[in-house]
Symmetry: C2
Subunit: 254 residues, 2 copies
C-alpha cells in the first residue's frame, strides 16, 4: 500500500438549528451524510449541533475546517430571519457576503411562475464572497461551496440532492469497508473474544452493539477495515470463535 492510499481523509459536520436542540425535530442528516462520505472514501470524524447563533457557528466552523479535510454544514440557508448560516460563515472566513449571479439567475427562473423573485427569496442567492454553487434540482436555492466548506440545506431530501451533485467530485482515500454478524449472546459473555480478535487483526476495528428484542439479549458485531482481505479474515476468526463458544452466528446481523 502506498503512502497516498493509506492517507485517511476526514470530514466534520455542523448541524445548525434550534429545532434539533429543542428536540422538536429528529435529525436525519448525520446518518445520510456519514453514509455518503463512506462511499467517497472520507470518514466523518466529528459532528456538532449548534444553535441559530452567530458566535456558536463561527467557533465551530473555524475549529472544524482547520482540522479536517472537509467541513459540511446543514441548515439555516432559507429565506427567513432565522437563516443566518451564510452570514456566520462569512464572518468565520473574514469575507463579505455577496449575491452570486448564477444563484440569482437560478432563483429568478425558479420563481418566475411562483410569484417572482422577492427580496426575501433573493436572500437565498447570498454567499460568502468567493463561493461556488452546489446544484439543487429540488427547490431552486443552491448549496454553497467555499474552499473546503460545503453549505447544505436542513431539509434532508434537499441535502440528498445536493450530495448527489457532489458524488465523485471530492478527493478521498480508500473506502472504509464493513461487515456485520449478529448473535443471541450477552456481549459481556464474549468481551474477551472481541478484544483478542481485534488485537490479532491489524487494521480492523470491531464494534459491539447490544440490543434487547423479543425478551432476549443479543448483539451485532461490526468489523471495519479499509482492506478487504483483513476484514474477511477477521470475520472468519470472530465467527469461528463465537460458534466454538456455543453461540451460533447470523450473517449480516440480527
Amino acid at each position: 500500500m502506498t503512502a497516498d492510499a493509506a492517507r485517511i481523509w476526514t470530514a466534520a459536520l455542523i448541524i445548525i438549528g434550534d429545532e434539533i436542540l429543542s428536540g422538536r425535530t429528529q435529525d436525519r442528516n448525520v446518518s445520510q451524510i456519514a453514509a455518503w462520505l463512506n462511499v467517497q472514501g472520507i470518514r466523518l470524524r466529528e459532528v456538532r449541533v449548534v444553535a441559530d447563533d452567530t458566535d456558536a457557528i463561527v467557533e465551530a466552523v473555524n475549529i472544524l475546517r482547520a482540522r479536517n479535510d472537509y467541513l459540511f454544514t446543514t441548515g439555516g440557508i432559507g429565506p427567513t430571519h432565522d437563516d443566518i448560516t451564510v452570514d456566520a460563515i462569512a464572518i468565520a472566513l473574514g469575507v463579505r457576503v455577496e449575491i452570486h449571479p448564477t444563484a440569482r439567475a437560478v432563483l429568478a427562473e425558479y420563481y418566475e411562475t411562483r410569484g417572482g423573485l422577492t427580496e426575501a427569496r433573493l436572500r437565498m442567492a447570498r454567499v460568502p464572497a468567493g463561493a461556488s454553487l452546489i446544484e439543487n434540482r429540488m427547490s431552486g436555492a443552491p448549496g454553497i461551496r467555499h474552499g473546503n466548506i460545503f453549505i447544505m440545506a436542513g431539509v434532508p431530501h434537499i441535502t440528498a440532492m445536493m450530495l448527489e451533485s457532489l458524488s465523485g467530485q471530492l478527493e478521498g482515500g480508500l473506502p472504509l469497508l464493513s461487515a456485520q454478524i449478529g448473535c443471541w449472546v450477552p456481549e459481556s459473555e464474549v468481551a474477551e473474544l472481541l478484544r483478542e480478535t481485534e488485537r490479532t487483526h491489524e487494521g480492523c476495528q470491531i464494534g459491539s452493539y447490544p440490543f434487547f428484542r423479543e425478551g432476549k439479549v443479543g448483539a451485532n458485531f461490526v468489523i471495519r477495515s479499509t482492506d478487504r482481505q483483513s476484514l474477511d479474515a477477521c470475520m472468519v476468526a470472530l465467527t469461528a470463535g463465537l460458534e466454538a463458544a456455543g453461540w451460533p452466528v447470523t450473517q449480516d446481523g440480527i
Copy 2:
C-alpha cells in the same frame, strides 16, 4: 421576574460512538434528552458526536463541562473493549478509575441468575473516583454522575430509564414554552412578517420550518418563550398577520 427566575440553565451533550459517525445507527438520544431537559427548565445548548477515541472525548468533556451547567454523555459504558467512556472521563477530570461498591453489588445481584459477575461485567462497575450512581431499572449497569457530568447509556430505552431516575433532581430555570402553527405558504412569502412579529414581541423567538408534502410547500412556525403571556400574544399576532395576508392557519402545526 427576579434575577434568579431569568437565569438560563444550560446543558451540553456528547454522543460517543463510531456507530453514529459511520451512519450505521440513527441517533435517538439527542431528541429524547433535549425534550427531557426542556421539562427540567434546562436548555440543550450544544451537542457533539465524537468517535470512540480517548483524546476526542477528553477534549469535548473539558470544554463543554466548563461552559455549561450540566454535561450529559451517552454511549461507551458497556462491558466490551470499545467501551472507553469511563476511562476517558477520568482522564479529563484528572482522577483515577475505581470500582463503585454499590454498582458492584447491583451487578452481582443482576447477574446472579444470568451466569455470574464475570471480569467483563465487572467493568460496568468502574467509575471515575468520587462518582455517584444513576439508577437503571432496565439492565443492571447503572449510569454515573460526577459533579455536573451525567454518564448515560447509548441504548435509547436504557437512557430513558436513567432520565426518569433523574427527573426533578436537577436545578433548572423557567421551562422554555413553545407553540406551533402551520400554514400552506412558501416561507419566503412571509419572511418579513415573521421578522417583524419576532422583533415586536420581546423574549419570543420564531422558528420557520418549511416542508414539501402532497406536492405543495408549507411551513410550520414555532414560537418559543419562557413567558406564557408573551408567547400567547405573539401567537395571536402571527396568526392574524398570516390570515390577513390570505394564508389560513392550522393550530398546532401541519
